[in-house]
Structure formats: C-alpha cells, structure tokens
Symmetry: none
Subunit: 410 residues, 2 copies
C-alpha cells in the first residue's frame, strides 16, 4: 500500500467525534515453546475479550516484513507517517529520547565526552565511561560556560555515561543545516577533527560546532578524564506535517517516559501532565478524564508491557497486560467514538528484545462488520476482518471510523 | 502493492477467452446493529451461493485503507488504474458524468449560470437556480451562438439547474492546457474575473474562456436571471493507456447511467446500447448476449445496489441484490472463461453513503483453488483465498485466470 498521508490530509474534516489510540508498548509476543501460548493469550483479560467480540481485529506490520521496529519508527507508523520515508536522525532521536522539543531550523548533535592528553590527542573516546552523575555535573559546567555562541542559543543535555546532546537553536534566524563532518576521529592518538560544512546552509553550524569544542575544552581544563568533547551524528528536524495539518486533529499525548513524549511532540501533539511514578496508569486515566473535552485524539501509552518483555519475564508481561485489562472499563466509560488498541512493535519475552512479528490491532466503533476474532491475541487477530496491514493504514482507518474523512473523488 | 499496470501491459496476450466483470455498485454493506448481518448476508441468493462455492473470494480496498471512494476512483481501481495516480479532474468528471467523450488535448470546464446587473456585477452566482428545462433552453441558445471560437470547436452541455459543462476541442490542433485561473469570483457584488493562463500551454485556453464569457453574455442579453456565465474547474484529459493498450482487450461497457458509460469510454471501452429504463437489467443481459462474439471483456454495471444504499433503505438494497441473483444464470449460460463480481465501493444502508469498507470480490474460472468462502458476503469473503487486496490487483488476476498473461522473466 502506498503512502496515504497526503491523500488523507486532503480529505480530513473536523467533527466532534473522539479517537483514543492505546499503544501497549511491545505487546506482541511469542510462545516460550512452539505450539504454546503467547503472553497475550495467557493473560486473563475479561474486559479486552468482551471488547474484542464487538470490534474489528487485525494485525499490523509497522515497518515492513521481517523488520524489527525501534520505538521511533514503530510509533511513527502508528501515527501514519511511513517510517521508511520520515526518518528521524540520530541527533534528533537522542534529543527527543530525553524529552527535548525541537523546532524547525534547529540542529541536534550527539556528543561523547572524551579524555585528551596535553597535546589534545584523544586518549579515550568515552572519557572512561563516567557515571551519569558525573555527566550531569560536567553538563552543568558547560551550560554555565556556553549559554550561547555569538547569539545562537545553545542547550546541553545529559544522555547517559559519556553521552550528551547539544541543541543549537535557530531561534527565528536562518535554519541551521546538518550536513557537516564529524569531530570524532573514531580512533585514539589523534586530535579531534574540525567539522567542515558539506553545504552552504551548514557553514554556520560547522562554525558553532568548532567554537563549542574549543570553549568546552577551556571550561573543562583541569579535569583529568572528562576534558574533551567529540561530535558525531547531526540532525535537523524532519519535516512532519503535524497531526493538526495532516488530520485536522487536536491531539494529546498521555505518556510517562521522555522518548514517547518527545515523539508525540514531534508530530505536534500536546503532551499532558501525568501524575505518578513510572507507568502511572491511574495518573494517565486521570489525565485522559481531565482533558476529555479539550481534544479530538488521545495517544495513550502503556510502557510496562515492553519493559517486562525486554527483561525476558513472561509472567511479568502477562501481569502487565492484565493490569491494563483491569483499567479498560475506565477508558470505555468515556465513550470514545473510536477506541483502538495496538502495539508499536512486538517484544516477546522469549527474545527479550523487540521483534519483527506483527502486532495485533483492535478498532472499536459503531461502523464495524462482524468479525471472527474473539480475543485481543495474536492468533485471534489473525482471523480478524482488518487483515494483515502496514502500520500506516491505522490512522486512515481510525479517521474513517470516526467519520472524519470526506469521499475521495466524485 | 505497487502499480502492476505497466508490468501487465508488457505481458498481455490475445486469446479467445472471455472475461465478464460484474460491478454491483456500492454492494458492500454494514449490519444495522453491531453483530448483525449485512445486506448481502441477509439477501436470499441461491445462485450466487452456488457460484461462490466453486469460486475464489476475497476483499478489495479500492483506493486505500480508510478511504471512501467516489464512483470514479472506485471504477478506475477495478479497471486496474491506481486512482491515486490516475486522477480525473472535476471538469472532466462532469463531462464524463453526462456521457461526453473526451479526447487527448481537449479541455472540459465546469460552468455556472449567473445573474449579472447592468454594470456586470454578479448578483447571484447561481442565477436563481433555474430549472433543468430552463438550463437546456439557455444551452440551446448558447450552442447556436457559439458553435466555435476562431476555429476551435466548442460544445456546451446541460448538467443540472445552474450547472453546465463546456468542452473546448483540440480537434487535431495543439493540446489545450488546463492551468488557468477561475472566472467565478466566488462572491457577489464584483464583476466576473478574467481567466489568466498559468502556463504557456494554457494561454489559448484562457483566450477561449474569456471569449466565451463575452459571447455568452451577448447571446443572453435581455434575460433577467440567466444572463452571465462563471467558470471554475478546468481539466484536460488524463492520459490513460486504454484497455486495448494495457490489456490487449476488446472491451465493452454495458451500463445505463451516463457516469459509468463516460468512465468506460475514458479507458477506451465501446459503450453498448442498452434497451430499457433505469437499471434495465434484462436489457443489459440482452446487450451482453447480442455482442458476445465481438468482445473479449465485458464490464456489466448494476446501479440499484448503490442507489438503495444511498437511500438508507436496507430492505430495498437486499431486494436489488436478490434481483441480480435471479439474473445470474443467464450470465453463466454464456460460459465466460472468467466471471468476476465486485463492487466499486461499499454503500451501507446504515450510513446512507459510500464508505471505506472493503468490498467482497468473487472470481470464477477453471483455475481456482479450494476456498473456504461459501457465500458472496463480506464475512465469507474475509475467509476467501484471495485475501484482502488493493482494487488494482483485480485486473491482473482476471487476465491471469483467462490465461491472457505471459510469464514474467525467464
């Protein structure tokens, strides 16, 4: 199927109907032994079962056959943006992953702290892998030393260990280009390289990067291990038509973890405040209820179905699925015109990692046909009337079920 | 799936086998209440049921997930032309909709009759919505007054009320461009705008349009209400490889309504004469029988399955399906090598409009595999061996089942 986003964009209309998209992160699974049951099939899910019996089910392949999606591409696909076309660069993904909002024209850069000897030769490209606390302390010093470079605002963020992120803000000036060479020489025993622009739009960025390197080394003089910076991976902000532009939707994100909030803000969703720790499911429901009248679309993220799969803990993943099931009636009580449940990828406990397997998807609305799928499980979803589809088909289907799309052609 | 048309075109071969494609317009439906039966499932269709049991079934999405097709895109998809690529503009569609044949280089324009005051200011953009009879009377006067403009043939047609269509014929001269600005100012109290060309190929068209406006006002002088013309929506003729070019098929259209005859002629089908009123099913069968030896491909259109759905009349739609069922043995008696039944979109009575839901498709030939689908219904088709596909997959499948496609590659 081709990229429908532009077509949908031309057909979208505003109505009062509301769409809730629940993303059970990594929900797809595998049986531990061939012929066995997956986590979803093992879980006791009376509420999901009842919902499935009056819904349309199917399966989604988020990126393509055999491709294991990262969280970024998996979510982009669910949001209707073909992840093979809308690529978020590593710098931008690092920034987004720690919850930094990027604007058009900004450039985000991945940095490593390094150890330099007195001749500036690189001794350790990871500065002895400092602790996150040490990283944060160094970042604080750099923030004080480099609030801007000749008027261009500079933001510096801890990622983890030796990793940090720098954002150069265009701040209303000309957009900054991201086509420039690395500072990281990738080997030790040489001096850091000088960044050079690969197109005219990136000349200013190269000057900013080189100035940053010099000022950082000055600020860190006296540090034994963490006394240099290396850059690799620059990205400008991918141009996404926002949810408002693409779908005419006032969209809100209900998530707890920075990565998901960052992805949602990239596509123009408002990120709602969620009270509570970690997955904070009750806080998420409260945020949904409190903001119900303000938005047409809610992205509701559940994280622990993925974390437990990543831990290889089958029983724990089953429990997290049951926890969501217990909460489902509160979502249904709001009576959204369309309620969808999907995953951004599979995370089978058996693999203890993301996987390429399709994820089950469920669409509940007043405009469904009879459907043979009786539960929200991989096996039953395979019998569903939605069939096996690309993840990017989901948003057009949700828009259609919410009666928010005009007819195509006369 | 990508566009297979070019590939099929390179593989098509002529044989004596015959293909009949029955389009039950808008045949896909919905249950009135969740969990209930659709119109197709409710209908008593012994002949369709028997056919389904020896056929391949599946479901077609004509444009894409969630997209509700107009009749134009729905049919183009069934005919193998990707409706996202082969776009028929509004002017051309209006012309086609009233049965006007367009040739390459022609431009079709949508017009409104308007009321102008003595200073040429637009008083009413719809000329008080004249009757169709008044429209036809005005069109007759314009035809007499403007048979051509400086050698370019001009054709004028009634659409309905204040709407008419003008076709400027290239008639062997340079193709006329369709990139020009509107004459319709979209507001009252101002004079009609002068059309200006937006590319060199459209300069002559702009001159023709402006000359038409002047001559029409002259011809209508003295009329109180219908004394001006406004233009909006120009289209040249989309380039379609014809059925002969694409498939090597001598194709015939058996339809009663202008829109469908127009679409068929756009793709190079011969439009057969059908005796009778409205859907004229018996007349259509007679046309099929009378022309059986002359063609390899028959497009057989049934309209009332859509009209009753548009009326929101579930019981009437069921009846129209049963009416077709009763006629099916006459089609089978001709022993076409391939008989296919599909819809150009769904028109559920529940929605009283076209919808995005896939349509069931059936292919009957000597080369089918065993198939679990026991009836031609949405639910059974979902179990069929053809799966859920893009509408553009249908023609390659019909060509294959008719043994009219060579092998691809060695």
């Amino acid at each position: 199927m081709s990229d429908l986003l532009e077509t949908v964009r031309g057909l979208a209309k505003k109505t009062d109907s509301k769409i809730v998209l629940v993303v059970l992160d990594g929900v797809g699974g595998l049986p531990l032994e061939p012929g066995g049951e997956t986590e979803l099939a093992t879980a006791r899910t009376p509420n999901l079962d009842a919902l499935a019996q009056t819904s349309q089910l199917g399966e989604l392949e988020l990126v393509g056959a055999g491709i294991t999606p990262g969280s970024g591409p998996g979510h982009l696909s669910l949001f209707g943006y073909d992840p093979l076309r809308y690529v978020v660069g590593r710098g931008a993904l690092s920034a987004v992953g720690i919850g930094v909002k990027l604007a058009a024209g900004d450039v985000a850069v991945r940095g490593n702290f390094a150890t330099l000897d007195p001749q500036r030769l690189v001794v350790d490209r990871r500065a002895g892998r400092p602790s996150d606390e040490k990283n944060a302390e160094i970042v604080a010093r750099l923030r004080a030393a480099i609030p801007d470079i000749e008027g261009t605002p500079v933001e510096i963020y801890t990622e983890s260990e030796h990793r940090f992120v720098v954002v150069f803000r265009a701040a209303g000036g000309a957009p900054l280009g991201a086509a420039l060479s690395d500072v990281d020489p990738q080997v030790t025993g040489v001096v850091p390289m000088t960044a050079t622009a690969q197109d005219p739009a990136s000349e200013k960025t190269a000057a900013l990067v080189n100035a940053f390197v010099g000022r950082a080394e000055e600020a860190l003089r006296g540090e034994e291990q963490v006394n240099g910076v290396l850059f690799r991976g620059y990205s400008d902000v991918p141009h996404f038509p926002s949810f408002d532009e693409a779908y005419g939707l006032r969209a809100a994100c209900i998530a707890s973890y920075p990565m998901y909030k960052g992805l949602a803000s990239l596509v123009g969703m408002d990120v709602l405040t969620v009270e509570g720790h970690e997955d904070a499911l009750e806080g998420k429901v409260a945020a949904l209820e409190a903001n119900w009248e303000k938005y047409d679309f809610f992205y509701f993220h559940v994280k622990k179905t993925d974390s437990t799969g990543e831990d290889g803990d089958f029983a724990a993943k089953v429990k997290k699925i049951e926890l969501f099931d217990a909460l489902l009636p509160q979502l249904l009580a709001l009576k959204p015109e369309v309620l969808a449940i999907a995953g951004d990828h599979s995370t089978p406990s058996k693999l203890a990692s993301h996987s390429w397997h399709p994820v089950p998807v469920l669409i509940h609305s007043a405009y469904g046909r009879k459907d043979a799928a009786a539960r929200y499980t991989e096996e039953e979803a395979g019998r569903g009337s939605l069939g096996l589809r690309r993840g990017t088909d989901l948003m057009p289907l949700l828009m259609a079920h919410a009666l928010k799309l005009n007819k195509y052609g006369a």
